[in-house]
C-alpha cells in the first residue's frame, strides 16, 4: 500500500451578490465590463463552470450574447476565450473588451435585448469548507471521485487552476507529487476543462484513475 499524504477534499459554494448594474445593449455591456469589479468578472467567467448545464457556452457573456442578444457569432467569440490562459483578471477583462470592440467595429448596431433579458452583473461570496472526505491512496481517491459533490470537483479542478496557475489542478498535483504517478497526472492535465460539464470531468477522472487502479491490482504470472 502506498504511504503518501492524504488528499483532503474541499468544497466551495457561492452566494450571489448583485452589483446593481445591468446592460441591455452590447455597448452598455462593454462600458460596464471596463469598470466592474474583478469579483464580478471572475463570477461571470471562471465560476460559470460551477453552474453550466450546456456545453454550448463557456461564460455568462457568451450565454447572454447567444440567448438574449441573439448574436450567435459574438457568442462564439466569447466562448472561445479560455479564462485559464490569463495571468490575472485584468488581462481577461482586456480580452473580453477586445472581442466586443472588434465585433462593434464590424457590426456597429447590434440589437437591444427584450426587457428582463438584460445582462445583470453579479459577484459571488465564496464559502470554503472541508468536504469531510480524505483519500490516502489511489483506490480511496477513486471511490471519493465517484461520490463527492460536484462543487468539490469545481474547486479542485477549475478553481485550483487560478489558485495554482500554469494549468495545474489539485488532483493532478497530488497524483504526481504525492503518489509519484507522472503519467496519470499528465492524463488528468490533458482533460480540457472548457469542453466538459462537472459531471463529465468526474466521469473522465474516474475512468482514468480506475484504469490505473486496475493495472495495480493485476497479478502477472511469472
Amino acid at each position: 500500500m502506498e504511504s503518501v499524504g492524504p488528499f483532503e477534499f474541499r468544497e466551495c459554494i457561492s452566494l450571489m451578490k448583485s452589483t446593481g448594474e445591468k446592460a441591455k445593449t452590447l455597448r452598455e455591456l462593454r462600458d460596464l465590463i471596463a469598470i466592474i469589479s474583478d469579483e464580478s468578472i471572475y463570477h461571470h467567467t471562471y465560476q460559470y463552470y460551477l453552474r453550466r448545464q450546456i456545453l454550448e457556452y463557456n461564460n455568462d457573456f457568451a450565454h447572454w450574447a447567444g440567448e438574449s442578444l441573439e448574436e450567435s457569432a459574438l457568442s462564439e467569440y466569447f466562448s472561445n476565450i479560455d479564462p485559464f490562459l490569463f495571468k490575472d483578471i485584468g488581462e481577461l477583462r482586456k480580452a473580453l473588451l477586445k472581442v466586443i470592440d472588434d465585433y462593434l467595429e464590424r457590426f456597429p448596431e447590434p440589437r437591444e435585448t427584450m426587457p428582463g433579458e438584460e445582462f445583470y452583473f453579479n459577484e459571488a461570496i465564496i464559502l470554503l469548507f472541508p468536504e469531510g472526505l480524505r483519500a490516502n491512496n489511489l483506490a480511496e481517491f477513486l471511490i471519493a471521485i465517484k461520490y463527492i459533490d460536484l462543487p468539490s470537483i469545481y474547486y479542485h479542478f477549475y478553481e485550483a487552476r487560478v489558485r495554482l496557475g500554469s494549468g495545474i489542478d489539485d488532483f493532478s498535483k497530488w497524483v504526481e507529487g504525492g503518489l509519484g504517478r507522472k503519467d496519470l497526472a499528465a492524463k488528468i492535465r490533458n482533460i480540457d476543462p472548457l469542453m466538459h460539464t462537472l459531471e463529465g470531468i468526474r466521469e473522465h477522472l474516474a475512468e482514468m484513475v480506475e484504469e490505473e487502479v486496475r493495472k495495480d491490482m493485476e497479478v502477472v504470472p511469472r
Partner: protein, 403 residues
C-alpha cells in the same frame, strides 16, 4: 431532522449547515411574514424553523395580524409591484404602517438577525431594536408601478440588505442585494416519496379517471397563474390527444381575489367532464404530492411569478414541466433539458403534445429535472444561503470565507 436529509440533499450542503450552525449557536434568528398557511413562504418557514433550531440557532417565526382592509391594501401593493396598475392612496399607506406599528408592539423584534418576508411587514424596520435586518422579497418586482415601489423602498432601504429570488428582480437600492432562490423540502409531506398504495388511496377521493394522460397545474387561483390559459391549452391538446386536466389549488388567507378567479375558472371550464377543478384546503400536502405523481405532464403557465415553487416540486418528482417564461421559472427550467419554457397558450399546447407523443423524451427530461432540483433547489441549500448571508454580514468586506 438534519439526518433525514442525508442521502437526499447534497452532502456539502449538510456539512456547511452544521458548520454555520456552530458559528451561530444560541444566537437568535427571527422570521416575520403575513400568513401561516397558503403560499410558498409559509410552507418553507414551517420546515425551516425546526431545522434552524436543530442546528442550535434560536429560530422564531412571527406572523403579523391584519384585518381585511389591511390585506386588501397589501394585495394591491403586491399586484402593483408585479406591474399591475393600482393606486395606493396616502391613507392606504398610512393604514399599512399603522397595522405594522400595532404588530410591532406585540412582536419580539430584538433578534440577532431579522428576516422580513415580502412587503406586508416591511414597515417593521421602523421598530428595529438590534441585529442585522434583511428584507426578503419573494415577488417579481422587475417592472413595478414606480410610485408604489418608490414609497415601499423608503422602508426597504433602511434594511442592512435585501434578498431577491431572481437577479432581474433586484432594484437600484442603496443597500447590499443578494440573490437567493427559494426551495422545496424533499422530506415534507408534499415532496416525500409515496408508495403506490398511498398514491391510489390519496387520489381516490377525487374520483379522477386514470385511464388517460393527466395534465396538471397546481397553484393558487390567481390571474398571474393563468388558470384560464391552462384551460385553453387543454382544449387545444384535446383535439389531438385524449387527456384530462386537473387544476388544483389552496386558498391563501392574504389573497382576497382568489374566490373571484376561481369562479371565472369554473366558468371557463364550462361543463367539460374532463376538467377537474380541485379546491384543496390548506395543508393538502399529501394530496398535492399524489396528484403530481399521477400527472403525465405538469404545467405552471404563470404570466408573472415570484419564483413558482410548484415547478421545483414537480421536477423533484421526475416529471416534465412546461413553465411560462416568467419570474423564477427560467431559473428552474433549462429549456429543452430540464423542461420546456413557453410564452403562449399555443406554445404550451405544442409542448404538451410533444411530451404526450414522446414518452422517452418525457422520461429523460424528468430525470434531468430531478437531478437539477437536488443540486440547486432543496431547502438545505436555501437555509445554507440564509446562514451564509448572515455570516457574511458579520464578516463584511471578505469575499472568501473559510469555515
Amino acid at each position: 431532522m438534519i439526518d433525514e436529509y442525508s442521502g437526499i440533499a447534497p452532502k456539502g450542503d449538510l456539512i456547511l449547515l452544521q458548520k454555520l450552525g456552530e458559528k451561530m449557536k444560541n444566537r437568535s434568528f427571527l422570521h416575520v411574514n403575513s400568513t401561516r398557511a397558503g403560499g410558498g413562504v409559509a410552507e418553507i418557514l414551517q420546515r425551516m424553523i425546526p431545522i434552524l433550531m436543530e442546528l442550535g440557532i434560536t429560530a422564531k417565526w412571527e406572523v403579523i395580524q391584519g384585518d381585511s382592509r389591511f390585506f386588501d391594501i397589501t394585495k394591491k401593493i403586491h399586484n402593483a409591484l408585479q406591474g399591475n396598475s393600482e393606486t395606493i392612496t396616502k391613507e392606504m399607506w398610512q393604514y399599512h404602517f399603522e397595522v405594522n406599528r400595532k404588530n410591532a408592539e406585540g412582536c419580539q423584534l430584538d433578534a440577532d438577525a431579522v428576516l422580513i418576508h415580502d412587503p406586508q411587514p416591511s414597515p417593521l424596520i421602523e421598530f428595529r431594536k438590534k441585529g442585522q435586518w434583511i428584507w426578503r422579497c419573494h415577488i417579481d418586482v422587475s417592472n413595478p408601478v414606480k410610485e408604489v415601489w418608490k414609497v415601499l423602498s423608503r422602508y426597504c432601504e433602511k434594511y442592512d440588505a435585501a434578498i431577491f429570488s431572481v437577479q432581474k428582480f433586484a432594484q437600484a437600492m442603496g443597500i447590499d442585494q443578494f440573490i437567493i432562490p427559494p426551495a422545496i423540502d424533499p422530506i415534507s409531506e408534499k415532496n416525500r416519496e409515496l408508495r403506490g398504495d398511498e398514491i391510489i388511496e390519496t387520489v381516490a377521493k377525487f374520483r379522477l379517471p386514470t385511464d388517460r394522460p393527466i395534465l396538471l397545474q397546481v397553484s393558487r387561483f390567481d390571474r398571474f397563474k393563468d388558470p384560464m390559459g391552462v384551460i385553453r391549452v387543454y382544449q387545444i391538446v384535446k383535439k389531438y390527444n385524449d387527456c384530462i386536466l386537473i387544476l388544483a389549488g389552496s386558498p391563501a388567507s392574504d389573497d382576497p381575489e382568489g374566490e373571484m378567479v376561481l369562479n371565472e375558472t369554473r366558468e371557463a371550464a364550462g361543463n367539460d367532464p374532463d376538467i377537474h377543478i380541485l379546491l384543496l384546503p390548506p395543508f393538502s400536502d399529501i394530496e398535492i404530492n399524489a396528484l403530481q405523481r399521477i400527472a403525465t405532464v405538469i404545467l405552471q403557465k404563470s404570466l408573472k411569478e415570484g419564483f413558482g415553487l410548484t415547478v421545483s416540486e414537480a421536477m423533484w418528482k421526475g416529471k416534465p414541466v412546461i413553465g411560462g417564461a416568467a419570474g423564477g421559472i427560467p431559473l428552474q427550467i433549462t429549456h429543452d433539458i430540464t423542461g420546456f419554457l413557453v410564452h403562449s397558450v399555443e406554445g404550451a399546447a405544442f409542448r404538451v403534445r410533444q411530451l404526450l407523443n414522446n414518452p422517452e423524451l418525457a422520461k429523460r427530461m424528468g430525470e434531468n429535472a430531478r437531478a437539477y432540483i437536488r443540486a440547486n433547489f432543496l431547502i438545505t441549500r436555501q437555509i445554507r444561503d440564509y446562514l451564509s448571508l448572515w455570516y457574511y454580514m458579520e464578516n463584511k468586506g471578505r469575499h472568501i470565507l473559510e469555515l
